[in-house]
Symmetry: C2
Subunit: 203 residues, 2 copies
Amino acid sequence: MSGNEKNTEQLILDAARKVFVEKDFDGARMQEIADIAGINKALLHYYYRSKDQLFEAVFRESFNTFSPRIFEIMSSPIELSQKIKLFIDSYIDIILENPHIPAFVLHELNRNPARIKDLLPFTEKTIGGLLSALSQEIKSAGFVEISPEQLMINMIGLCIFPFIGRPIIQPILFGNDDDRFDEFIQSRKTEVTKFILNALTKK
Amino acid sequence: MSGNEKNTEQLILDAARKVFVEKDFDGARMQEIADIAGINKALLHYYYRSKDQLFEAVFRESFNTFSPRIFEIMSSPIELSQKIKLFIDSYIDIILENPHIPAFVLHELNRNPARIKDLLPFTEKTIGGLLSALSQEIKSAGFVEISPEQLMINMIGLCIFPFIGRPIIQPILFGNDDDRFDEFIQSRKTEVTKFILNALTKK
DNA sequence: TTTTAAATTAACCATATAGTTAAACCGAAA
DNA sequence: TTTCGGTTTAACTATATGGTTAATTTAAAA
């Protein structure tokens, strides 16, 4: 047969990702997922028992798009200022490749905060180690006093927020022009890095 | 009659706010809103024709909790560093009083970006004026070169992100402990202000 | 070619849900 | 006391939706 040669399970997952990310769990319709996948609705249940389990598969995948890279970069053995630069660059790049995933993941976790437990691959010890290492690096670099937690949240927030806030930022600040918003994001990589490094530098 | 003396319309709006903010439009049930308001479901339709219109009322109210204050503060005629300090303090305070509203509003706008048009009370001119004034103030203050758009997004993002990201931040960074998270937010007012002002200062 | 198990579908079911309707209630005006 | 308009309710409707079932198709093994 010609044309569509992908296996059905993947077709379903792709369609489900599209619909769930766009409409969230409650707004998504199994029928729409089936239509987009080009299959019968019963097949969804044949491969993934229920809407819940199909959503679970999509959500896991989305969550894992982001979390591993953060820890990988932050635990690499390079100089802190370089590390920050690399982090911001990579993080904005990842989001650019999946611009709707952060809002999707955060919304689902707000809807169901308990879910986070099943998703964290990091033990408390890993986190603790990473944070105290970061704390040490801040000192050795001669940077301003700041808790590693505050710094991490600042870095991540400055990267993610423009994407989550896009539907309000773009109309207000950029006359709802896609190109101007994209420019803004592009310059953001260097701007945020500068901003953070300067914020960390003593006078 | 004793006890409950509020007018029905307000009872409905309060219940609707609670349910919509917690579950979003698609997840909310008219029956649950009626139950919480302690009335018959038909009354919801008597006062607000449809689920859409009830949601609209809640959403408008939520949106207006935030936007006016931002512009008020940013256009007040005080020194920029003071203005930033005041902005961060007030903004975090407003969010603390309505911690779930930012996620609610942003999620709804992501679901339906066109809606923003009906909500913006600011003309493009007002925005333009505010931004160019801010740009001027950055220069006169002898601050680092930064576009007013980048600065605004940084300020707002640093305030809002911890709240939107709470279900992932609190378990990862604070062992899922409410008190430790609250401490973190409290210290954030001064920490974010310091961070931004230092980021703006030439070395 | 026949058999068999997996894949796929059309038709169906049970239920949840937004919205409607007609009747009852209630307090104030006449 | 009666009337009347606004308020509230119980009961109902139409439809959308997640999920099921039994039958059909497909493709590979025997």
